[in-house]
């Protein structure tokens, strides 16, 4: 088991290393003048020269890479030209918003997905199942950014139920930031109205992500469920006189868990891409929007930083999921041991 963990950890480090190489390549090797690239569009000659000296851009590539890696190891992503602060500080400020959005979306998705799967499995070829099939067919082609805008159109422009953008209504004062998670902070401040306001702002962005996850994941979860029902041990269970309900909950669901885990892990990768689009559309002040706004004014250090952080996040998620497999599936334990 320990060897398994060590292997997976080493793998994660390798991925991070590769992304570091990639980002290094993209920021130091590809641009004609890396100093001008990092200094931004309107930089003066003096600024460019200063950047060149600061980052050591005239030194051999190997040395540069060593410095780069060293910087990454301590969390030094350079300076943002737009905010004039270290990128690491900016990331720390904006990360909670992104995490809140991701976590809430994911939890809602898992819950809804579970109920949908059960409903479809209990009434195969029923109307729930047909709806799901229709939904997944349509849903794979809906761009997440379009979906977000469509939801804005319906719920803000037409119905006026929910806000257009932002994390909290502008005209109101947000609760003091303790954890950085607005929902929690509002609850800690003991103000139900604040919780409500935060929820309202969170709804559309989260809904956008949830719907997209459902469209992609439900198709695969459903396929996994259908395939599971064909397996011989189900026939054995029926031969024992086990009811359909018990078969579903005790046998089938338990066995599709590892396939579902695989699908879910992949979903995470998608989510990390979608969150950028969702933050842009809804003006959600997370690291996606931060990096994008920087990108638009040719401030590239945050973009590179986002690449590293997202990949690191995905690596961590993968590791966690990998740890879950042996717990879920006894057959994997033997391979892992």
């Amino acid at each position: 088991m320990a060897a398994f963990l060590a292997r997976r950890l080493a793998w994660g480090v390798l991925v991070l290393l590769m992304v570091a190489i990639l980002t290094f390549f993209l920021s130091r090797v590809v641009p004609a003048d890396p100093a001008a690239f990092l200094a931004g569009q309107n930089a003066s000659e003096a600024t460019v020269a200063r950047i060149r000296a600061e980052y050591g851009l005239d030194q051999p590539l190997a040395v540069q890479f060593g410095r780069y890696l060293g910087g990454l190891a301590v969390g030094d992503f350079g300076q943002s030209l737009r905010t004039h602060r270290p990128v690491a500080v900016d990331l720390a400020q904006f990360l909670p918003a992104t995490l809140e959005l991701l976590i809430v979306s994911f939890l809602v998705y898992v819950t809804v997905s579970f109920f949908l799967a059960v409903a479809a499995a209990r009434h195969p070829s029923g109307w729930v199942d047909a709806c799901i099939r229709l939904f997944t067919m349509l849903g794979t082609g809906i761009p997440v950014f379009w979906l977000g805008m469509a939801l804005q159109f319906v719920f803000f422009y037409r119905l006026h139920w929910l806000p257009l953008s932002g994390r909290y209504p502008i005209r109101e004062i947000a609760p003091p930031s303790i954890t950085g998670f607005l929902l929690i902070d509002a609850a800690l401040a003991g103000k139900p109205i604040a919780v409500w306001r935060a929820l309202q702002s969170l709804t559309l962005p989260a809904l956008t992500i949830v719907l997209n996850l459902l469209a992609v994941g439900t198709r695969m979860s459903r396929a996994a469920l259908i395939a599971e029902y064909d397996r011989p041990y189900i026939r054995t269970a029926r031969g024992k006189g086990v009811s359909a309900r018990a078969i579903l909950y005790r046998h089938v669901l338990r066995n599709v868990l590892s396939a579902v885990l695989a699908v879910t892990t992949m979903q995470f990768g998608y989510m990390l891409s979608w969150v950028i689009l969702v933050e842009v559309i809804f003006g959600w002040p997370g690291i996606g929007l931060y990096a994008y706004q920087s990108f638009q004014v040719f401030d590239y250090a945050p973009v590179i930083a986002l690449a590293m952080v997202s990949t690191a996040g995905f690596v961590v998620i993968n590791l966690l999921m990998d740890l879950l497999y042996p717990l879920i599936d006894p057959r994997v334990r033997r391979i892992a041991a």
Binding site: L22, L26, V30, P143, M149, Y157, S310, N318
Partner: protein, 292 residues
């Protein structure tokens, strides 16, 4: 990761292409509809000048922001341009690019996957580890970084998306070859000493091509969505190119009142992606049926 036990990516790959329906009458009608949609879009991509009623680029400010009517089926945008014409012209940039990327990735990668599948052992391991590395990077984030480095434009889109797509095909081809080499006819051919290139050509490639076809068709829908997403962020096509993602981006200031500006380009994306998805499904069912 053991190279013999199915990995999460393998599981997902199987689930993603498993046919979701059986061949009933309504499904056949659906397939017919999808083929029709495909034909329409193909026409749009190949003959936009012939089919579009208006010019997609020239401004006509006197007719700006008009709701759909008989003159302008999809309405007009803020520059007075006919949205339908822009959508038709945009087909080759959005859908065309998606098709090119997917096909290009697939073609390139067949050799890679074949080598891995045939060589096995440590060669396979190394090649596949490289593939797995690429699975670990969120796509859009990578595209953003690439765009930062080489600037915006279609090349960026092509490079970023090709980098995202190729690992999937490498795995697919390798998996196919691995399962194919156990088949009796392949073993028989090897036993009588058929040389490797002929073996590839006659016994392995037909099946590989079939599997890749199915995947390619389904993937075009996803690639299309990805292309439009990149353009939406301004990383890909630039104004005034009527790329669908760009159209949606341009609609942002106005869509609250000009609903048609948002709805129609988005619907085109959904229709195209949906059509390819249905056709891909049908190909998958067909392939599965032949296996049996």
């Amino acid at each position: 990761m053991s190279s013999t036990a199915p990995t999460p990516q393998d599981v997902v790959a199987v689930l993603a292409t498993s046919p979701s329906a059986s061949a009933s009458a309504s499904d056949r009608a659906l397939l017919a509809g999808a083929c029709l949609v495909f034909a329409v879009f193909a026409a749009f991509a190949l003959l936009p000048d012939l089919l579009a009623p208006y010019d997609p680029i020239i401004l006509d400010v006197s007719h700006r922001m008009q709701a759909p009517d008989w003159e302008h089926w999809f309405g007009t945008d803020e520059g007075g341009r006919d949205v339908l014409s822009r959508v038709i012209h945009g087909t080759r940039y959005s859908l065309g690019l998606a098709v090119a990327i997917v096909l290009g990735s697939a073609l390139f990668v067949v050799l890679y996957g074949a080598i891995a599948g045939l060589a096995r052992g440590w060669v396979d391991d190394v090649l596949m580890r490289i593939v797995d590395l690429f699975f670990g990077i969120p796509a859009l984030v990578l595209a953003l970084a690439v765009a930062a480095a080489i600037g915006r434009g279609l090349e960026t889109v092509v490079i970023s998306l090709a980098a995202i797509w190729w690992p999937g095909y490498a795995r697919l081809v390798r998996g196919e070859i691995l399962s194919l080499r156990e088949r009796p006819h392949v073993e028989a051919a090897r036993a009588i000493g058929v040389p490797l290139p002929a073996l590839l050509r006659r016994h392995l490639l037909p099946f590989v091509v079939q599997a890749v076809n199915v995947r390619v068709t389904t993937d075009i829908g996803y690639a299309l969505v990805a292309v439009t997403a990149l353009s939406f962020l301004g990383l890909g096509a630039q104004s005034p190119t009527p790329e669908w993602g760009l159209l949606i981006r341009d609609s942002r200031p106005y869509f609250g009142s000009a609903w048609w500006y948002l709805v129609f380009p988005g619907t085109m994306v959904m229709l195209a992606a949906g059509a390819f998805s249905v056709i891909g499904d049908a190909l998958a069912s067909h392939a599965a049926g032949r296996e049996r």
